[in-house]
Amino acid sequence: MTNAKEKTKIKEQTRRLLNRFSRKRGNLIPTLQRVQAGLGYLPREAMLEVARFLDIPEVDVYGVVTFYNQFRLNPPGKHSIRVCLGTACHMKGGYITLDAWKRRLKIDRGQTTPDREFDLDTVACVGCCVMAPVTVVDDKPEGQVEPTKVDGILLSFERERKKRGKEKR
């Protein structure tokens, strides 16, 4: 649960992010995009703040947030994994890739690992159909991601983490 201190912090951050927008209803989606870019997700407090800022009912904000695929209500992981399920990717085994990610990360689509290292989701199509099946790892589209490459990608993150750990020590 978010405590009172965190709540105020989120509120303040949201307010700062809203600064450059004018208070028009038409700005609802751009403001939400900006807030999500800043906070990584849309916590309850941030949505309330947006409703107050644009002077619209809170339910309208929630309705829009839950309607669009882009918005998320829970905090993201450090690394984002987006499995493309476009037609080309699907036919070349995107669903098998998704299964592999699920199996390795032990989470379902739309979830974040308990250590908040990874979050897993799907995307309708990133338009790199030629390299199918594609997984977008931290905004970088990776091509031909088959189950063995899933393991490879995870291994490279693991190595990086160990390296960082050593440097710290």
Binding site: R25, I29, L32, N69, Q70, C128, C129, M131, P141, T148
Partner: protein, 635 residues
């Protein structure tokens, strides 16, 4: 409009053009110009590493050559692509470049004089040294109009676009009466490339005549069809062609405000479009009193938040107004009452990209391409099981066979063609018998598919038709906004029936129920999403009913794709005893050695049917097979 103001447009534009040409020629004076295809697809293939390699090697060799990030040339199968333009040589296109090749090209071609022919795809001009791309067999069928600039100009530099003839159509249009511009578009016969194929000129005329002010022009770049990336490629490779088309449209209908509605999932397209808008504003090609005339128009970029239904124009407008994107009743059409209740012209990216060519070269030139009822060219994103994947542009009326087998070079791996899926979730799968169908709006609709926005996925014998119908239904069902009952609940029921089939369950009579329900969903939905969602199922039932029957009656998937109906099996006689490839690659450790005879066995309980073992088994043994139904596996 006052004559004195009109006369100002042409000289102002001439000044801009002269400057652009000078800058462009300056560029060509370098020892060599390097262009790297860095659209999203190129980047995914490693274009950015290639770019860095070129830059670092040039620096090391103390060479001062411009390295330009260009867009997508359409030859996706050959990515990453680099073009080197060195005086004395034709511009040479290199394929599958990596950092090592990039460094070699700098040392041996730019510094030395060896064009490294082993990495060449082709040249852009005729020469004795390298075969030209225009001589490729596929070039006979292609005709690039709106993709012409893509991959050949710097999308982040407006001067490249202007030097190549850009914005001259806008300057020309501004000196005509708006009605004359509309007349020209009408005469060209251009039909909207968003999928439905409504006559563009008529739409413009309706919007012009509609009372109300201000009016808006919206570019629909909410390309949500899975498997389609034409709009992305155009915005990433040639954003100004869309901006110019929008400005001409706005002048014609009398609009002063425009929006480009682009998917937030396309960050590079967003970035490059934003940059293009800024550059156009700076040269007064957008903004107040464009080119010194009295027409004012500016464009804002709006990022769509990932809802497929927002590609539907009334839902798109709701989304722009800050609401959930649910469609509304039409009529009134947006051209009469759209954004904020004002007349709003909505055109697709490709439609708008055609406009400058129609104004520049005339309606007659345009209507001379393609077929009588569908003039012009069609852009397709060719993907799936085809050798030369990529972005292609062919005149309307080209047959599917020419596109897939001549331009796309056929099916890889010696497999046989099964179907081609056109138009994404709104379209359908066409079988072998439809291969000689000339592609245009009407012929495709008649065959049960749809032009859609232009995704074309080739399917081979390994693809299951029941599964692909289920896949599209799953997509449309998830993306249904929920407004109409038939779309919300009907697609859900259809999806459940199809999912049962892919598990080998269900009854034959369900097939008739399914097609009845499909017709009902079509009839009972308000917008294009629901009205076309059943198309993939209906065409599939029409052309591939035998596959459905195999699933239901025998629990067998003929294409060996449906996971619950297949099993992997290692043939003991073929398995090479000392080889451990499958054991090592199995992601769930389901493969073990027979305790006495040592050949490998798959634990069917553990197996997740990912197929990794199948690819890891050395081809000379080829011991692993897929069997359907799973009961085929010997005990």
């Amino acid at each position: 409009m006052k004559a004195s103001q009109l006369s100002g447009v042409a000289p102002t534009f001439q000044k801009i053009k002269k400057r652009a040409l000078m800058r462009y020629q300056e560029l060509q004076k370098a020892k060599a110009v390097i262009m790297v295809g860095a659209a999203t697809c190129g980047r995914a293939a490693g274009a950015l590493e290639v770019l860095r390699a070129f830059k670092s090697e040039l620096k090391k060799q103390k060479l001062d050559c411009p390295v330009i990030e260009v867009g997508c040339m359409g030859h996706c199968y050959a990515e990453p692509i680099a073009i080197i333009n060195k005086p004395g040589y034709p511009p040479i296109v290199y394929q599958q470049v990596n950092a090592v090749i990039a460094k070699r090209l700098v040392r041996e071609f730019i510094l030395g004089d060896d064009p490294c022919l082993e990495f060449v795809l082709g040249a852009l001009e005729e020469s004795e040294l390298v075969p030209s791309l225009a001589d490729f067999p596929r070039a006979k069928f292609e005709q690039k109009v709106i993709l012409k600039n893509c991959g050949h100009i710097d999308p982040e530099d407006i001067d490249h676009y202007i030097a190549g003839g850009g914005y001259s159509a806008l300057a020309k249009a501004l000196q005509l009466k708006p009605q004359k511009v509309i007349e020209e578009v009408k005469k060209s016969g251009l039909r909207g490339r968003g999928g439905a194929g409504f006559a563009t000129g008529d739409k413009w005329a309706i919007c012009r005549q509609a009372p109300g002010s201000p009016k808006y022009v919206i570019c629909n770049a909410d390309e949500g069809d899975p498997g389609a990336f034409m709009d992305r490629a155009i915005l990433e490779s040639d954003p100004h062609s869309v901006i110019e088309g929008m400005s001409i449209a706005a002048y014609a209908v009398g609009a002063n405000y425009g929006y480009i509605y682009v998917r937030a999932e396309y960050p590079l397209a967003v970035h490059r479009t934003r940059l293009a808008l800024r550059q156009a504003r700076k040269l007064n090609l957008l903004g107040k009193n464009i080119l010194g005339g009295n027409f004012s128009f500016d464009i804002k970029l709006f990022q769509g938040s990932g809802a497929f239904v927002c590609g539907e124009e009334s839902a798109l407008i709701a989304s722009l107004e800050g609401k959930a994107g649910t469609p509304n009743h039409r009529p009134p059409y947006p051209a009469i009452s759209g954004l904020n209740g004002k007349p709003t012209l909505i055109n697709n990216v490709k439609t708008l990209a055609f406009i400058r060519h129609i104004i520049d070269k005339g309606a007659k030139w345009f209507s001379g391409i393609g077929t009588k009822n569908s003039p012009g060219t069609a852009v397709f994103a060719l993907a799936g099981k085809v050798v030369n994947t990529g972005l292609i542009e062919v005149p309307m009326g080209t047959t599917l066979r020419q596109v897939i087998f001549d331009v796309g070079s056929g099916i890889p791996g010696g497999k046989s063609f099964k179907a081609v899926q056109i138009g994404g979730p709104s379209g359908g799968c066409l079988p072998k018998s439809a291969l000689d169908l000339p592609i245009d709006f009407d012929s495709l609709t008649e065959a049960g598919a749809m032009m859609g926005s232009g995704g074309m996925i080739v399917l081979d014998e390994d693809d299951c038709m029941v599964e692909i119908a289920r896949y599209f239904l799953e997509f449309t069902q998830r993306e249904s906004c929920g407004k109409c009952t038939f779309c919300r609940l009907g697609t859900k029921q259809m999806l459940e029936t199809l999912s049962e089939f892919t598990r080998g369950k269900g009854e034959i009579k369900d097939l008739d129920k399914l097609s009845q329900l499909a017709e009902d969903v079509k009839a009972g939905s308000l917008c294009g999403l629901g009205r076309t969602a059943p198309n993939p199922v209906l065409t599939n039932l029409r052309y591939f009913r035998d596959e459905y029957e195999a699933h239901i009656k025998e629990g067998r998937c003929p294409a060996l794709m449906c996971q619950e109906l297949i099993a992997f099996y290692i043939i003991p006689e073929k398995c090479e005893l000392t080889c451990d490839a499958c054991v090592g690659t199995c992601t769930v450790e389901a493969i073990y050695s027979h305790p006495k005879k040592r050949y490998k066995i798959i634990d069917q309980e553990k197996c997740v049917k990912c197929g990794t073992c199948l690819t890891s088994c050395p081809p000379q043994y080829n011991a692993i097979v897929k069997l359907s139904p799973p009961s085929e596996v010997p005990k």
